[in-house]
């Protein structure tokens, strides 16, 4: 068991003929991901790493029964690729692309709400169910199968925490990189809900950062509805207001919302221990497993 993706997930890679698309398709295939198709307008009939390419996502779905996609399409065309993925009624869409204009994402998010598709990202490292499949650019070798769910707005910070978890013997059920943009598909609450319903997940690590109020919403959800224990981490305690810290979404507003302090307090009030360092997060997980 796992959330969002597993070995049966049939993946179409949108933008498979680009540099990123080609490289990570090879990486994913090597990890064991069941990539059944690529989709690039005008490139139908070609192959990439033995994977057949179609002109449209709907064509790929019709021919290969794909039910998920990974999107490597450049920012200028990413929204259209996401609309196409929604139109094709996929179960899961993972958008790796960084730098999608926020107004484009607002429109995508508007339509997403009318579908049953789970969109992860954009600007995210992907989703991995260790030992089974990964959709994205995650370094598969640091993950191990296990019973800890992981949700993170960040890429390399995730790797750091996963590395610590794996080193200490805590494998992962699924890790979901939800992405660092202001508007994303699957947020913390939705991801937490998936893990709460997953019998194969015994504990969850929530790795947040400054900006927005998604961690506060997650704390409220954990407090009110969640039984699976959660351990937390928040990056950006030292970030000054008004400065974008790399991620488009990682910014403490001038009016003081989105601070690490607010998020840490909310989580701790909900009974979630928040680590001061990545290492401490793993200590908390160890405590949870008692």
């Amino acid at each position: 068991m796992s959330v969002l993706v597993d070995g049966d997930t049939r993946v179409v890679v949108q933008g498979i003929t680009g540099g990123e698309g080609r490289f990570h398709t090879a990486e994913m295939l090597e990890y064991g991901t069941n990539i059944v198709a690529g989709a690039v307008p005008g490139r139908g009939g070609q192959e990439v790493a033995g994977v057949p390419v179609y002109d449209t996502v709907s064509g790929a779905v019709r021919e290969t029964d794909a039910n998920a996609s990974v999107v490597f399409v450049p920012p200028a065309f990413a929204a259209d690729a996401l609309f196409e993925a929604l139109d094709a009624d996929l179960d899961v869409v993972v958008a790796i692309t960084e730098g999608v204009p926020v107004q484009d994402m607002s429109r995508v998010y508007r339509l997403l709400g009318e579908t049953d598709t789970h969109l992860v990202g954009p600007n995210c490292p992907g989703v991995i169910t260790p030992g089974e499949t990964q959709l994205g650019i995650l370094p598969g070798n640091i993950f191990e199968p296990g019973r800890v769910g992981l949700i993170s707005r960040s890429g390399t910070l995730t790797y750091q925490i996963v590395h610590n978890l794996t080193t200490r013997g805590f494998g992962q059920s699924t890790a979901v990189g939800i992405g660092g943009d202001p508007i994303i598909g699957t947020d913390f609450v939705e991801a937490l809900r998936l893990f709460e319903d997953d019998p194969a997940t015994d504990a969850v690590v929530l790795c947040g950062e400054i900006g927005g109020e998604d961690e506060e919403a997650a704390a409220a959800y954990i407090d009110e509805e969640m039984e699976t224990p959660v351990s937390g981490f928040i990056a950006g305690r030292t970030a000054p207001p008004g400065k974008r810290m790399g991620h488009a979404g990682a910014i403490v507003s001038g009016s003081g919302t989105g601070t690490a302090q607010s998020k840490i307090e909310a989580l701790e009030t909900a009974g979630v221990p928040v680590g001061d360092t990545p290492e401490e997060v793993v200590e908390h997980v160890a405590d949870l497993f008692g």
Partner: protein, 381 residues
């Protein structure tokens, strides 16, 4: 990306939003000529991209040529919250009966644009928001449909704006939303939107920030960016295409990935140090990019030491180490202690490649940060 007031006003005026008569001036002479042309009283306004210019002495209303000269002389060249004032906008000083506030931004929490209207213009709106949230009316916009005409009117009437000017204010708000939407705004704001004694509506200030991610389709706005003044190091970071934020501390920080770099900052603080900067070099390990990052921190006189924190994923540790070695080759001497920590893919191999005569290598994040903090203290003392 922030536009200057004069740039934003030009955008607004072109779209049909009434703005005062104004001229840009780069010298005292230009400013005085402009003031004479426009007729007194005029406002002389520093063109720097920071808020609270008025309080900081960057705006002055003058009644005569002598006063105009004096004000321009004082403001041009002044240092305003760390920015050097190179231009002033000389502008007809509008007589007013009322000051309103209108703005458009993206409400990330709901994933939709929001327009805001208040009768409490002309003051720090964030203070109003904090003290009297009901004084600001918010109306969310369906991004598929855009701002409906009725929504602009609804917001204006709900805010309690006088019916005599309601239709005009609603029209300004609709235009502002249209601009925001067409020109990929991040924030668009008019504060104050003045109502004159004759019930004319005039945008006396203008803020327009463009979504950086959308500059590719706003080529004319992207060009404006080059005119920016501002912090020298941040300008350099811009050229190098780094995500960079300058801070007050003395521990320089370089890493890959926003979350990991933020965490490194936090840990420097946690172990008693003070971060000098945020610098995300992103993916990849080219020597040039590494060298540029080192150049950034070496150029920062506040930074006493550098911690280099890389977690290799798809990126391989051995390649990063080679990049660091090559980058260091470009410096005749290494001016500040450099602590390197590599983790993830091929990290062990990478650490073996690194030249420990030139850099201090640490095995964990905690150790690296503590070493850097300690080195900074040594240099400091």
């Amino acid at each position: 990306m922030k536009l200057h007031e004069y740039q934003a006003k030009e955008l607004f005026a072109d779209a049909g939003i009434p703005t005062p008569v104004s001229q840009l001036a780069r010298t005292v002479e230009e400013a005085v000529t402009a003031a004479d042309d426009i007729g007194y009283p005029v406002a002389v306004k520093a063109q720097v991209q920071v808020g609270g210019r008025g309080k900081a002495g960057g705006i002055e209303i003058v009644e005569s040529r002598d006063e105009a000269k004096e004000a321009a002389d004082r403001i041009l060249g002044m240092d305003l919250k760390g920015y050097h004032v190179e231009r002033v906008l000389v502008e007809d000083a509008v007589d007013f009966a009322n000051e309103l506030y209108v703005s458009v931004t993206m409400d990330r929490g709901v994933g939709r644009p929001v327009v805001m209207v208040s009768t409490r213009g002309g003051v720090d709106i964030e203070a109003v928001a904090a003290e009297e949230p009901g004084a600001i009316v918010r109306e969310h916009v369906d991004p598929a449909f855009g701002l409906f005409g009725f929504q602009a009117r609804k917001a204006v009437h709900s805010a309690g704006i006088d019916r005599v000017v309601a239709e005009d204010v609603a029209s300004v708000l609709s235009t502002l939303y249209g601009l925001w939407s067409e020109r990929d705004g991040a924030d668009a704001e008019i504060n104050p939107l003045m109502i004159t004694d004759d019930n004319e509506v005039v945008a006396v200030d203008a803020v327009f920030n463009v979504d950086d991610d959308a500059l590719f389709r706003q080529p004319d706005l992207a060009e404006l960016e080059e005119e920016d003044a501002g912090d020298e190091l941040e300008a350099k970071a811009n050229r190098y295409e780094f995500d960079y934020v300058r801070l007050d501390g003395n521990v320089g920080i370089i890493g890959n990935g926003a979350g990991l770099v933020m965490t490194t900052l936090d840990m420097v603080d946690y172990y008693g140090g003070a971060p000098a900067n945020f610098l995300d070099i992103g993916g990849g390990a080219e020597a040039e990019r590494v060298a540029n990052a080192l150049d950034m921190v070496f150029s920062d006189e506040n930074a006493e030491t550098v911690v280099f924190n890389i977690f290799g994923g798809i990126t391989r540790g051995d390649e990063v180490a080679t990049g660091i070695n090559e980058a260091l080759d470009r410096f005749e001497e290494i001016p500040k202690p450099v602590v390197v920590r590599l983790a993830g893919t091929k990290a062990t191999e990478g650490m073996e490649i690194l030249d420990t005569d030139r850099v201090q290598v640490e095995g964990t994040l905690e150790e690296a940060v503590r070493a850097a903090v300690a080195a900074a203290e040594v240099v400091e003392s």
